[in-house]
Symmetry: none
Subunit: 136 residues, 2 copies
């Protein structure tokens, strides 16, 4: 195994800041690029893609794909949590709900042992309807 180093560059920080400032909202690559341009900052599109891919892998950012032939959306989550921190997204209001649930951990080991698939539930987004929207 090799330790994977991540440099703290200006561009990485800018992307992260913009995402954090838009917590709870969906942000596209074009949004980021446009914002940087307006701020007079230069950042290549490929850099945004590369940083975003890394951030998703790290768990700091979630990626949403709503349709093909349309840009992907990203949303800031924050620091990756130790265990048990999962995310559910409400299809109705778009809100993000945290979930701490033992059964999910049980699901992970069950799927791994009985279905031979290693789930990465930190990267998984559970879709559904939140309590508020259900009552409405």
């Amino acid at each position: 195994m090799h330790e994977h180093h991540t440099y703290k560059t200006k561009q990485r920080q800018m992307v992260l800041d913009f995402l954090a400032a838009n917590r709870g909202r969906h942000v596209t690559i074009a949004d980021i690029a446009k914002h940087m341009e307006q701020m007079g900052e230069t950042i290549g599109t490929s850099t945004i893609y590369r940083q975003l891919n890394k951030l998703v892998e790290e768990g700091q950012v979630k990626r949403y794909v709503f349709s093909d032939s349309a840009a992907a959306s990203f949303e800031y989550i924050g620091e990756k949590e130790e265990t048990g921190g999962y995310h559910m997204k409400c299809k109705s209001c778009g809100g993000l709900v945290h979930l701490e649930c033992d059964l999910i951990e049980k699901l992970r080991s069950h799927v791994q042992e009985d279905h031979d698939f290693e789930l990465d539930l930190v990267q998984t987004v559970f879709y559904g309807t939140c309590s508020d929207c259900r009552r409405a």
Copy 2:
């Protein structure tokens, strides 16, 4: 309102037949094109797209978008309602795996009762690593 007529062409039938023959599996545009080529049939890619879009609109076929910059998958539904299966996507090879699992249904009712969130797990994509990629 105007009745929308749909012609029964050879190409439409070929696409439908191939999808029906692969019931329960995920099929990409490339899969269809390759199959037709092997059968010695000619069918333009745009025709496949157009027919598939129509079939999805009619509800005979379901479309899945699991990641941007990757081809969409299609699955024959026919007259039936839900397929009942869940979907897992391998982060490594991009492959799609069907999952039939009782524990997931249990998870759904648990989250609804104890966490007050109504999961839509048919729409949820579980990320992870498939068995082949894990061994490699």
